[in-house]
């Protein structure tokens, strides 16, 4: 259940972080006969890295062979169809191309990696597949198994399905300290939570959580990626995800359709000091535009919004999927392809924890997420044609929306070309009415993101 006050009980497992990784692990833990809780500092799930990324289900051709990144990527990619079906998450294998301006030789390293990782790729002429690709692109590596997914729904789907299978979720509950006697005592802003095991899935903050209990052993540097999101009118500009050759800082700037039919360009890559610096910058956005422009014949101008996400870049060089101390597990340094790998990481980590606790499978586990359908065909968001019924379902689902952004992420009200200009007030009214709170209590996302200051005179 979603809990506001702490339960006085000892959980078998407490998962810290309700991003895609923590949520996937929690849901996979529910397959076992274990009591599970998720502890999240934000007021909603999916408020960290999982909400702002490229949302590509990577094929797995560029991860270094033999690493956890490569393994989890390839397995995660294969699991994605089934998981998205069970959790009702929009997903499509649209295929990806890495274009080269130089020639086939420049792609040979990727071809070799693909082969080692067991990923099917071929060398093609990109112009045979995409009309609008730059005429400077000489050839491309095509990976048909690459896809696009809705990262919010994947995260929410995992978290909701975990809760539907008995997990508790504590939102708005930052973890402040960790101690262990017989069990772990997790000190939070709301008091103490007891658990036999901990899974640290705190994203860019995973090193901070680690250091609350163990001595420092790795450092996570937030690596910012900025994006430009374009109008849906451009949905047919490209059908594949178009990469350029990867560089030292990551997979480089891509241009891709999103699962909802927008066009997305980004990300940049800049290392930061602060873990909550989500500012977009003139330089970052200009870099994205200039680099993305090289991939296409003509880069369009219909930007509807820009945003930034933070990669949890670890100094370990690979994902950390481990039990560094008895009962203390962690899934850390999960940068790209973390979203793709989430199904595999969930399964892997849950298996590790269940093994440690000697847990059996729970025969009552139901992998299918409940879908709420509520009446109301009045259109609230014009740009994305979102009905009142859909918004009601977003509010009254297993982990219902409480904020404007929460509604936006769940049903897209306000994510279209007018960016909430028309519908945000109506959504606020519906939230206030359904949650039975005053209009002025509705927030954008965080507790301090006040929208209105009381009544007019």
């Amino acid at each position: 259940m979603r809990r506001d006050a702490l339960e006085n009980r000892i959980y078998d497992v407490a998962v810290i972080g309700a991003g895609v990784i923590g949520s996937a692990i929690a849901r996979e833990l529910c397959r076992y006969d274990l009591s599970v809780c998720i502890i999240e500092k934000n007021v909603d799930v999916c408020e960290g890295t999982s909400k702002a990324n490229s949302a590509i289900v990577h094929g797995g051709f560029d991860a270094k062979p033999g690493t956890m990144k490569a393994k989890m990527n390839v397995i995660g990619n294969r699991m994605m169809d089934k998981v998205c079906e069970e959790l009702d998450v929009p997903f499509k294998r649209n295929g990806a191309m890495v274009i080269s301006f130089e020639g086939e030789d420049s792609l040979s390293e990727l071809v070799a990696r693909a082969k080692a990782n067991g990923v099917e790729v071929e060398i093609v002429d990109p112009k045979d597949y995409e009309e609008n690709i730059s005429s400077d692109a000489k050839c491309a590596l095509l990976c048909k198994s690459s896809g696009i997914v809705c990262p919010f729904e994947l995260t929410l789907g995992y978290a909701e399905n975990a809760v539907e299978n008995g997990a508790d979720i504590y939102l708005n509950t930052p973890v402040l300290g960790i101690k262990k006697d017989e069990n772990f005592t997790i000190h939070t802003s709301k008091g103490n939570i007891q658990a036999r095991c901990i899974v640290n899935a705190a994203g860019v903050y995973a090193d901070a959580i680690h250091d609350m209990y163990l001595s420092h052993s790795y450092t996570i540097t937030p690596r910012k990626g900025e994006y430009l999101l374009y109008d849906r009118d451009l949905k047919d500009l490209v059908s594949h995800t178009i990469f350029q050759l990867p560089g030292k800082m990551g997979k480089g700037v891509l241009v891709t359709p999103t699962i909802h039919g927008n066009l997305l360009a980004g990300p940049s890559a800049d290392d930061l000091l602060e873990k909550d610096d989500l500012e977009t910058t003139d330089e970052g956005l200009a870099y994205v535009l200039n680099t993305a422009s090289k991939s296409l014949k003509d880069m369009p101008s219909m930007v509807i919004t820009s945003f930034a996400g933070l990669r949890a870049h670890g100094d370990t060089g690979d994902f950390v999927l481990d039990m560094p101390a008895c009962g203390f597990f962690e899934a850390a340094c999960i940068e790209s392809p973390g979203l793709t790998s989430a199904p595999a990481i969930g399964e892997y980590m849950a298996g590790m924890v269940a093994g440690y606790l000697g847990a059996d499978l729970d025969p009552s586990f139901n992998p299918v997420r409940k879908k709420r359908v509520l009446d109301g065909d009045r259109i609230i968001c014009r740009c994305e044609s979102v009905t009142e019924g859909e918004i009601l379902a977003a509010i009254h689902s297993t982990i219902g929306a409480r904020t404007l952004d929460g509604v936006k992420r769940r049903v897209r009200a306000g994510s279209g070309r007018c960016q909430g200009g028309f519908c945000s007030i109506k959504v606020m009214e519906i939230l206030a009415r359904e949650l039975d709170v005053p209009f002025e209590d509705i927030r954008k996302n965080t507790l301090d993101s006040v929208i209105v200051f009381g009544k007019t005179k």
Binding site: L285, S306, S385, G421, F422, S424
Partner: protein, 307 residues
């Protein structure tokens, strides 16, 4: 179901066009409106300044709309509220959000316009609460009765922004400045005098906002001059775009960039029997001009239907 004339939108353009067609002898008319009341954007424009040319007196937006609403009701012209047109085809089949399909003899597009959001300007920075288009802030205050902010910077000197500078000041907010990237404001001279000058609100020309600050709520902006200005609210009044997504679906030709409809003298679009009027055609300064155009569109549609 068949309908002689379907009018999409019940703002001043749609209402006047429907009345005009009625007066030309067309009886089988339906007005479709997605909001829950007739009148469109005028409902939130509670300041005076409407109707000087049409009625020779200064009305508020709701008063101006009320005259047309009364007429529509008096003539018994049929309308649907809370109903959005989802699709129009080239052969004038209109699909409503209720699923109903109408075969229209003629269509008048009167969907109005929308405000440009922040994304269109690509201002960098954070994404906190406290950034509103001027029209959204106007609706929050005038229809819902809530204060959207206390310390305000207005970006762009469009008329709604100017009107809101005065409105927020009268409600006790501190409007620190209006910044305008161009060397001249696009707003009406009377609005600059009555909404800014009378309240000593500075208008900074050749200036824009280059960065937005604040993690939760807006805390300030950086101007193109390099100056940092603290504020908790940013209103955007940076232009209007005709709301032509539907028009595109049936193949109406638009002018690139402005999104204006390209149409003939009698307001028929490129699509046979589809007419346009008001801000969906192009953005008008004054509602009086919208009404004038709408009357013509209603007449043209009637002539088309009688042909």
């Amino acid at each position: 179901m068949k309908k002689d004339l379907v009018v999409i939108g019940a703002g001043p353009a749609g209402l006047a066009a429907a009345i005009s067609a009625y007066e030309e002898g067309i009886r089988d008319i339906l007005i479709v409106e997605r909001d829950n009341l007739l009148g469109g954007i005028l409902n939130q424009c509670i300041h005076p300044g409407f109707g000087l040319f049409t009625f020779g007196e200064e009305l508020t937006g709701p008063e101006y709309a009320a005259r047309y609403i009364a007429k529509v009701k008096e003539l018994g012209i049929e309308y649907m509220l809370d109903t959005m047109v989802m699709d129009i085809t080239r052969d004038k089949v209109v699909t409503l959000s209720s699923g109903l399909k109408l075969e229209a003899g003629a269509i008048i597009l009167a969907m109005g316009c929308r405000e440009r959001p922040r994304g269109a300007l690509n201002i960098s920075g954070t994404r906190p609460s406290g950034i509103f288009t001027a029209g959204t802030a106007q609706r929050l205050m005038n229809i819902e009765g809530y204060m959207p902010g206390k310390e305000v910077v207005i970006l762009g000197s469009g008329d709604i922004g100017l009107i809101m500078a005065r409105r927020m000041t009268l409600e006790g907010a501190k409007v620190k400045m209006v910044v305008e990237i161009k060397e001249k404001s696009g707003g009406l001279a009377r609005n600059i005098a009555q909404c800014l000058d009378d309240f000593n609100i500075p208008l900074l020309l050749n200036t824009t906002v280059t960065k937005i600050h604040g993690k939760d709520r807006v805390t300030g902006v950086t101007l193109s001059t390099g100056e940092y200005v603290s504020c908790d609210t940013i209103l955007l009044s940076v232009g209007l775009i005709p709301e032509n997504e539907l028009s595109k679906k049936c193949g109406v030709r638009l002018e690139e960039g402005s999104n204006n409809i390209i149409c003939s003298e009698d307001l028929m679009t490129d699509v046979d029997g589809v007419f346009c009027s008001g801000n969906v055609h192009h953005v008008h300064d004054l509602v009086d001009n919208v009404t004038k155009e709408a009357i013509k569109a209603g007449k043209s549609a009637a002539i088309y239907l009688r042909r």
